[in-house]
């Protein structure tokens, strides 16, 4: 159900929308009065956070909002959520919106978990009866037990965030806005959140995610909006959007020549693109390279991390080929790593990739962090990074 049905109704329309922020350097009455009029102008600075944005989103889409820091992603999310008003144009939506941003910001420390749940749910548009009906789900999801009747100031930060997340997610939203919050909580809770998002996708909920973790965007979204200086510069295919962002980031970096890694893809043993693997299946990582002729000696390195940034394994052409530096007259080449039957436990993994130079030694000519992602999924419930085959015998001494 994740692919957009053509007959799915539109749920969000943003037309010719612009948003201006006014930065004031003074905030006291004295400075305002002293600097009234012309002098006052000097103390304010206008800038357009978003310019001429036009977006239409249909029900059931999962959309990633990407862009570098300050490109207007979070502002756009707040405009969609109705927390900010546009300066020009309009933002229209239908259905209930739940925003997972600044989790728990609305909790009052002196009230109990229960009181905060009812207040927050009411502010998100739930009636008392609806909250009553969902209260069990909320406490179960937050896994908070008897602490529900304790003042939230005594909660651990994890409990606080879990409860806030649980309320937002149990309001039966039609549109879910997510701002970098999938990084909260422990491993088990993160998994629960991702499961919940998958469940939402199946239920036709529209999900809009802001994240810097591009691999996460790639794993979840089928459409990407790339923002640059407040304008939508890409609206469509996820891979292309992420590539366009990489190009933007590289153009902004002091070393614009570093554009060597063009594409990184995860394939199965037969060379077909694949996102989910059974434990023990071969994994191929295919890296397209460009502009290599300019490099004297180089090798290609990959590293695979899990969702928490722990290194699962790493390798490179240098290690595999016994210390070989490549130097070619060709610009374009493809490096394919075959990882035979990696003993990975269940989880999501991210592929980082680098081109490393001989001169200057070990300098990175290009990096592609979290360039691709894949998942290992089985019916087992293992712990840790690696999958083991174990047995246990129990006998009386």
């Amino acid at each position: 159900m994740s692919e957009t049905l053509p007959r799915a109704p539109e749920v969000l329309r943003i037309s010719d929308m612009s948003k201006r922020f006014v930065l004031r350097k003074d905030n006291s009455l004295k400075e305002r009065i002293v600097g009234f009029g012309r002098v006052g102008r000097r103390h304010r600075e206008d800038f357009w956070v978003l310019r001429d944005v036009n977006i239409t989103i249909r029900a059931g889409e999962t959309i990633g909002l990407i862009g570098h820091n300050g490109s207007g992603k979070s502002t756009l999310l707040k405009l969609i959520g109705g927390i900010l008003d546009p300066t020009k144009g309009k933002v229209e939506h239908r259905g209930r919106i739940a925003a997972l941003l600044e989790l728990g910001a609305g909790f009052h420390p002196d009230l109990t978990g229960r009181e905060n749940v009812y207040l927050n749910a009411a502010l998100m548009g739930l009636s008392r009866e609806e909250t009553d009906a969902r209260f069990g789900d909320i406490t179960a999801f937050a896994d908070i037990g008897e602490f529900i009747d304790t003042q939230v100031k005594f909660y651990s930060s994890g409990m606080f965030v879990r409860l806030a997340f649980a309320v937002a997610i149990n309001t039966d939203p039609d549109i879910l806005l997510v701002d970098e919050v999938l990084a909260v909580g422990d491993e088990a809770f993160q998994r629960k959140c991702l499961d919940k998002i998958a469940e939402f996708k199946a239920q036709g909920v529209t999900i809009i995610i802001v994240s810097h973790r591009l691999a996460e965007i790639q794993g979840l979204c089928e459409r990407v909006l790339l923002l640059d200086h407040g304008q939508v510069v890409h609206d469509g295919d996820t891979r292309e959007g992420i590539r366009a962002l990489r190009n933007l980031l590289k153009a902004a970096s002091p070393n614009p020549d570093g554009d060597h890694i063009v594409d990184v893809a995860v394939l199965d043993g037969q060379g077909q693109p694949r996102a989910t693997f059974q434990p023990g299946e071969d994994v191929l990582v295919r890296i397209e390279l460009d502009r290599l002729a300019a490099l004297r000696g180089w090798y290609c390195s990959i590293q695979v991390d899990d969702a928490f940034g722990r290194i699962a394994f790493g390798t490179s052409t240098y290690e595999i080929d016994g210390g070989a530096w490549f130097g070619s007259t060709e610009d374009r080449m493809i490096v394919t790593f075959r990882i035979s039957a990696p003993a990975l436990a269940d989880g999501r993994f991210f592929v980082n990739c680098a081109i490393i130079l001989r001169e200057p030694l070990n300098m990175h000519a290009d990096d592609a962090m979290q360039a691709a992602t894949f998942e290992v999924a089985s019916d087992e419930t293992p712990r840790g990074l690696i999958r083991i085959v174990a047995s246990a015998e129990i006998e009386t001494r």
């Binding site: 159900m1 049905l5 007959r7 799915a8 109704p9 749920v11 329309r13 922020f21 006014v22 905030n27 006291s28 009455l29 004295k30 305002r32 029900a59 059931g60 707040k78 405009l79 959520g81 109705g82 927390i83 900010l84 008003d85 546009p86 300066t87 020009k88 144009g89 309009k90 933002v91 229209e92 939506h93 239908r94 259905g95 919106i97 925003a99 941003l101 600044e102 910001a105 609305g106 909790f107 009052h108 002196d110 009230l111 009181e115 009812y118 207040l119 927050n120 009411a122 502010l123 998100m124 548009g125 009636s127 008392r128 003042q151 039966d172 039609d174 199946a202 239920q203 036709g204 909920v205």
Partner: protein
């Protein structure tokens, strides 16, 4: 709910939009916002309860502390102003008189000072949840009215103790009295809560002005004392009019007429009290609409200023 059902339900819903200055569906923004507030009345009730609960949550005596301040004020004023300075000589049942005024003024000051800080106090919610922001100052208004209700109960009990229970039709003056204080308070709460977000100094200014206002209304002395002092002055009649037509003065006078039975025969009230209140109510309504208009115009930028 499966995707098909959700899509069908969504397709049947109208779009709700926002543009600069508020929602797009209504051409008259004020009415749109008022209906939105009405839709969120359960949330409003919970916000009021939150404020009341949270205030004294950790104290043993809890809610009783709300009464500590006005009762202490009452004791001091009766002793110092009433007896040491002699104001009680011309005002029978001085304690009832003062308490009526203090309660009325406390209502006004709770609404205005609570309302002024309400958006900043709820910054977390303002930045996160898209509900009409009017809820936050209105929650302060609701909380203030609840406190006033408690004080009214005490006032009634006190009149019983003094054997001066308000049994005449004058009790009906309480309605316009409370109305005028609530109306002006709410108008100022809306206006100032919005402006304070951009100019934090306002909250300090409000404290000062409230103190002045308390002494400029006949809470601790009688209206006739002011009249007697002002009359011989140059331009006295104008000053008396200005003093009298202060909405807070009118509200306090109406409430005194309602609850302070001992003054029914002796005390003097300005002429045409009801007419004055009626005119002030109309002006107050205009002020309320103005306050709300300002609020609506700048509330779209709250989240980025907090």
């Amino acid at each position: 709910m499966d995707a098909e059902a959700r899509f069908a339900a969504l397709a049947a819903q109208p779009f709700l939009g926002r543009r600069n200055g508020g929602p797009t569906e209504t051409s008259i923004g004020a009415i749109g916002q008022i209906t939105a507030v009405f839709r969120n009345r359960q949330a409003l009730a919970l916000l009021i309860r939150r404020d009341l609960k949270a205030r004294y949550k950790d104290s043993t005596l809890g809610f009783l502390w709300t009464l500590a301040r006005p009762l202490t004020q009452l004791a001091i004023y009766v002793l110092v102003i009433g007896h040491f300075l002699g104001a009680a000589r011309n005002i029978p049942d001085f304690a009832i008189y003062v308490y009526t005024g203090i309660a009325a003024f406390t209502l006004f000051s709770d609404i205005v000072s609570g309302g002024t800080g309400s958006i900043i106090a709820n910054a977390g919610l303002v930045k996160k949840v898209a509900v009409p922001r009017e809820l936050y100052p209105l929650a302060s208004v609701g909380g203030a009215f609840f406190n006033y209700g408690v004080q009214l109960v005490i006032l009634i009990l006190a009149t019983l103790a003094f054997g001066a229970f308000p049994m005449s039709w004058d009790i009906l003056y309480a309605i316009p009295g409370i109305l005028i204080i609530g109306l002006y308070g709410t108008a100022l709460a809306l206006l100032l809560s919005a402006i304070t977000v951009f100019l934090r100094d306002i909250s300090y200014l409000v404290e000062v002005i409230l103190m002045v206002l308390m002494w400029l209304s006949p809470v601790l002395y009688s209206w006739s004392m002011v009249r007697d002092v002002l009359t011989p002055l140059n331009g006295g009649p104008v000053l008396i009019e200005i003093y009298t037509n202060n909405p807070l003065t009118l509200g306090v006078l109406a409430l005194q007429k309602a609850f302070w039975v001992a003054g029914a025969q002796t005390a003097e009230y300005p002429e045409h009290l009801l007419l004055r209140i009626g005119i002030a109510l109309i002006i107050g309504l205009t002020l309320l609409f103005f306050g709300h208009w300002v609020f609506r115009r700048i509330q779209g930028n709250f989240a980025q200023e907090l």
